[in-house]
Structures are given as structure tokens and as C-alpha cells.
Symmetry: C2
Subunit: 439 residues, 2 copies
Amino acid sequence: MTQELRLGIAGLGTVGASVIRMIARRGEALSRTGMTIRVTAVSARDRSRDRGLDLSGVTWFDDPVALARSGEVDCVVELIGGAEGAAKRTVEAALAAGKPVVTANKALLAHHGLALARAAEASGVSLACEASVAGGIPVIKVLREALAGNAISRVYGILNGTCNYILSRMELEGLTFEACLKDAQALGYAEADPTFDVEGFDTAHKLAILTSLAFGTAPDADGVSVEGISAITPLDLRMADELGYRIKLLGVAEATSAGIEQRVHPTMVPKSSAIAQVMGVTNAVTIDSDALRELTLIGPGAGGEATASAVVADIADLAAGRTAPAFGRPATALAPPARAEMQRHEGGYYIRLSVHDRPGVAAGVATRMAEREISLESILQRRSEVAATQDRRGRSGMPVPLVLITYAATEAAIRASLDAMASDGFLAEPPQVIRIERE
Amino acid sequence: MTQELRLGIAGLGTVGASVIRMIARRGEALSRTGMTIRVTAVSARDRSRDRGLDLSGVTWFDDPVALARSGEVDCVVELIGGAEGAAKRTVEAALAAGKPVVTANKALLAHHGLALARAAEASGVSLACEASVAGGIPVIKVLREALAGNAISRVYGILNGTCNYILSRMELEGLTFEACLKDAQALGYAEADPTFDVEGFDTAHKLAILTSLAFGTAPDADGVSVEGISAITPLDLRMADELGYRIKLLGVAEATSAGIEQRVHPTMVPKSSAIAQVMGVTNAVTIDSDALRELTLIGPGAGGEATASAVVADIADLAAGRTAPAFGRPATALAPPARAEMQRHEGGYYIRLSVHDRPGVAAGVATRMAEREISLESILQRRSEVAATQDRRGRSGMPVPLVLITYAATEAAIRASLDAMASDGFLAEPPQVIRIERE
């Protein structure tokens, strides 16, 4: 006799509805796990809403915590979202009741991952979260299971489709951030309040989970240095193109001698890299490790069906008895990461200055960098935009852009040299600084 | 008390040596599976060879079958290679003795996969083969576990690093196949007898395994239509470039209305596709499915360390109790695929003709295609190479290249039209035909 795995789905948004349809559609394939998978209970805020789902024979719960505790439910699928409130209470209740949990909730895991992993372990059940990072890309399974033989040195990726869509359009069509954001909102790729996506917080949550899996540390969302894409201009994208780069919002987790760096920021990546090819709402993750060197996964990072794919894979693993600790190792082994301060980050930098167009400024800028032992790989000056107002010496009196690409330097040195240039009165506007990530 | 998983390694080439070193290096991490993993026995042809390995305390077997049957071995790691002979006897002996097997042997699985999966199932042990396809890329785990919610429509990839290295260099440096092959041999990327790689047979074996996992059919190596890269010329690569394509040796498995297509051939892929960016010895696999649409994995496809990474991941899964049937479903459910004949393959084609330079030939060629309802997307003629000998009508009397790109047409129609052109006496040389794979 086949055993049954009875699911309680908490949260019936786009993802929840896709999960229910996928389980119905893939019933025969899923039964090969050795269990019949069936949705027996659901919970959502608004019962009256028509979701186009056949919920006959499925018990409705107004309270997701009651669903989690119900005797009709063997496994709770949490798709409510948010780091606190109903989602957290539901997951806690399920784990306390000895029920495995499948969740897509990045905020919850980034902020409370360690406590929840401990609770799961205490009850001897699994807490699966493939859908919490990069939608349908199975990066959690790959980090947790497929790289057992590898020591990982860096994980980085495009983890937010909204930002990648905006940057792609800005680049391809020469549009401003504001114009592309408006389009993204019209197409449903961005929320009415886009802050969470465009300022990098969504990426930071996902990165905190990847860091934990890659380096065996407890998720540490507060340790992520975060910078969004709202200050990127079409000029930066043009300059990047000329210099052989593209600009992507990356989440980067890296083991350095100073500790674990976790940073989210607009990043110049070489045009020839796999990650630079990723355009639109697609996500991508690259994992650097000792044996494999570079492994890149590219796929849909959001959307009901793609996210449901990850949720259903977790459910199938559970039904087949393939389990693993939430973050790849026992919760007791998850120590907080030694945080590497951003000031100590070392890398190449793209610096776009707006300098006053007068004698001695370029020399002064170069001197200020040399004083901090920052070496320049290239300098780019474009006067074309102010040419119309130039005098016969080629000077316009208007601020002109000056772009510098540095070899590896520390964030602290870069900041100090820019402060010095500002004190010198060289800068007409605050500088634009974009980090370069090399392969 | 921690249980021990005692490994017997049959085959001590580059991969075997890397596996032994990796297990030593990653001992602590691997013990998190709940078991201590230890190599207790090895077997290879030449005991006297210095492999730079510490084999103290490890039992040596001259006969790998004896190793498989040894009471000191819980799990057999088969790294001998080859579809028949010692490798097959070793795996059979291990499974018959009720021991799980981890193997990197694509030829063995492509030809005897079904029988071996049955033997594993009869003994209730697992037969794991991540390393058999695309080296360190965990494509087998992804197909088998991560896509449980998806119906797969197509899998295609660059599965042979030797061929991709040769094509990349031909493209980037304008060299001939022969020159690049020689370099690949000097660098150790190609064997002294390169036939198996460059004529597509290695790719075909790997594809047969992917087909089985993607479509739930028994591996059917004999059902793969195979064509290698030795006939590709620098001119084809230049033409591809002009037309917005790159040429890659792809293995493609596709569900069509006529059955399952399995084909290995040089393929024009759009330059903008993720797979087109993959240069050198790197491998890549793209999986098209209903929920995820497109998922691409890119990584090292060969080499001791990368292949060992896949072997060790299989061992870790085994130690952690995470098992799955070899081809993703019970062996009884694996039916032979309904083979789609290559003649019925429908797609776009690049056709490079060498035509006699006389009036009416272009019109005749176009007519022969129109008769079979083949529509042309573009026609490209370059006379530059024969310009020196042209008369004032622009004719040289020399054969001139004529390149045609077709919209979707069947292989049968293309072949029939080319036969007709040959009968007409239009062709100075046999035509070059390269299939186009669109995203």
C-alpha cells in the first residue's frame, strides 16, 4: 500500500496556486517517490477570492497556525512570506508539531534561519527552502549536496530579476533608471513600492542563505553590506560598455583573509563572463570552488511556475526520503560568520568623477590616488558632451566626466582618496563608485 | 558511534587518484553525512606505478571483481571505463553482492544501463552515475531530483570538451580542424586516436544517459544519430559568425510528435544564447521544461578534480542515505524510447554549397528548394575569394560558395533537394549541411 503525504499549503498567491496545479498535473510522476502526494488543507487571507483552483475536498483554514497543527496535514508548505508574523508562527508551529516544512520565504530564513534549523533538528524533521533563492534554479540543492567534495571560495549571482530587467533595458535602450522602473512596474516585474528590490534588500536576504550553505555559517542577514541600483546612470552603462564590462546587481559572498564578505552592489562584470550574458528577469549564480573552479547556473528567478518547481522538488525529495539539514550541516555546527568589514574589501573599482574643467585637476586626481597606492588600469575622458561650449583651449568651464578604472585596492583607500579630492575642490558632484568583480 | 562507509576504488587513473585525495582532504566535511568515509581497497592494472598517493593500510587487488566481492568493501567506485570487460564485470559483481556502485562510466551505462539498473534494484542498492555526464556539472542530480515538478521537452548540451576546444580555437583564430586537433593532442585535451571524441561518440553516450533521465526511457545509445566535427571548415565558422551564430557540437534529446529524437551533430546556435558563450573545454547543458522553461548549467566537463567532485557527491549522498533510482524511476518503468527517425527531424538548416559559377545556377538551386517547400531565410554569396580571376561579367569559372539558411524543414526534404541539385550538375563539391538549433 502506498503511503500518502498530506500537504497543508499556507498562502495562496501566485506561487501557492501554481504549486497546487503542479501537484495535480504531475501526480503520476510524483508518485514515483514512493508516496502519493495530496493537498489536504489550505489557508489564505481571503477565502472569497476566485483563484481558479479546484479546492473540493480540501479543508480551508483561516488561521495558518491551525493548519500547521491540523491532524490532516503531514507537511506544511509556507508561502505566506515575510520575516515575522503569520509566516514565522506557522513554520514554528509546524516544526514544534514534528512536521517537516517546505518554504519559499527568504526573509524568514535570512533572519531566523538558525533558530528554525535548530527547531527542525530538535523535532527530527526537515526544513527545505529551495524556492527561497533564485526561484527555479536548484542552487540550494547544488550547494548542499552536489559540492560535497569542494571547498567553496566565492558565490555570486544575479538574484533579483527586477533589477536585472531594469539594468538590461537601461543598457540596451539607453534609458534612465526611472523610465525603466516605470516599465517594470507596468509589466508587473516591480512592486508599487520598489525599494525592497531596487535597493538590494531582496538580494541581501537570498545572499545570506547562500553564504550559510557555502561556508557553513549561520545566516547573517545583518552582516550584508547593501547598495542598490537607483544611482546607476545611462552614462555608467555606456562607459562600462566601452571598457568591456556590463553592470549587474550582484550578491557576492566571499571567503577572505579578513573573514566572510557579504556584499550586494552594482558590479562591473567582464562582458565575456557567463553572468554578463544574463539579461532581463533571468537569474544566475556562479560558485567558485577548489575542485570545480567555476560552476554557473542560469534560469528563471521568479514567477509562480518557476518558484513552484522548486517547492515541488523539495516536496518530492521529502516524499522519497531524501533529506538534508536546512543549511547543509547540523544547526549546532553553524557558527556566526566572522564578518569582513567592507572597508577592507579589496578589488578593482570603476570611479566616475565629475570634475571642474580647469588646469591641474587631472594631475591632482591622479596624485590623490597615488598617495594611497591606488594603481590605475585606465583613464577615460569624454569631452564630446560639452564640446559645444568649449573655448579654443578645449575648456568649457562646465564639469566634465572623468572615469578611472583601478587595479585591486581597498575600499578604505578608495574612499580616503575621494574624500581628499572633494576637499581639494576638484569634484563638481559626488563621485560614482562601482566595484569590479573579476572571474 | 559513527558508522563507516568503506570504499573500494576500481581504477586508479587521474580520476581515481583525485577521488582518493579529495576524500582525504574533505574528511571532516564528509563526516557530516553521518558516516566516516574511508578508502579500504583499490585495484588497477599496474601496481608498480607511482601515483603519488598514500595507499598505506589500503588493500590492493589485482582483480577488480575480487575487490567488488571483498568483505572489506561496502561500496564500489568503478573508474575503469569501457562498456565491456573489467568495468562491466566489476559493477555486476558489486550489485550481485548487494553493494551500491558509484561509477563515472558513460559507455557502460549508455549500453547496459537498463540491465544494471535492474540488477541494482533487485539487490536494493543504488547505482549512482553523476560523473558519467558533463564531468563536474551536477546535471544528473538536477534532472533526477530538482525537476520533479517539470515535464521536460528538450535537453541539449556541449558534452565534449575536446570538440568545444577545437571549435573555439577554429573560430577565434581562423585555424583548420586538423591544426586545432594537433594542438589539443599536444595539450592533453585529445587522445592519440581522437575518433571517439571528434566523431561524436563520446557525446552520444552521455546524451543517451540524459535522454533516459529526461524522458523516463531506457538508455538507448544505438538510437542516437551521430555526426562529428571533422568536416567543419574555417569558412563555415566565418559564415556562422556573419549570420549571428556559433557552431557547437551539441547532443540534443527532444520529445517530438514522431517520438524521441536523439542526435549529435555540429549545430549553429544563436550567438546570444547562453550555450554559445561556452568556449574551450567547458561543458554546458540546457534543459527546457514546462514550468522552468530554460535552465542552463555551465562548468568543467572533464579533468580529474571535476570528475572526482561528481564521484564524491554521489558517495556523500549514499552516506547520507539520499538515494534515487539510477535513471530517476524504477527500472521496470523504463521502456525503450520510441525513436524518431532523423529523416523526420524538422528544423532550420545552414547549407553551404560550392556551385559552378555560371548563369542559372542560383535560380536552379532556389527552384530545387522551392519544389520541396523549403523556405529560405537568407542567401549569402561571397565572391571575394575568387575575385582575382573574375572576368568583366564577374564570373571566374571557379566554384563559388553559396550559403543558404532555411526556415524549418524536414531532413528528408533537405536531402532530397540536395540530391536533385547534384543530379542537375550544379554542385562542384558535396554540400555542407549544419543544423540550426533555436532557443
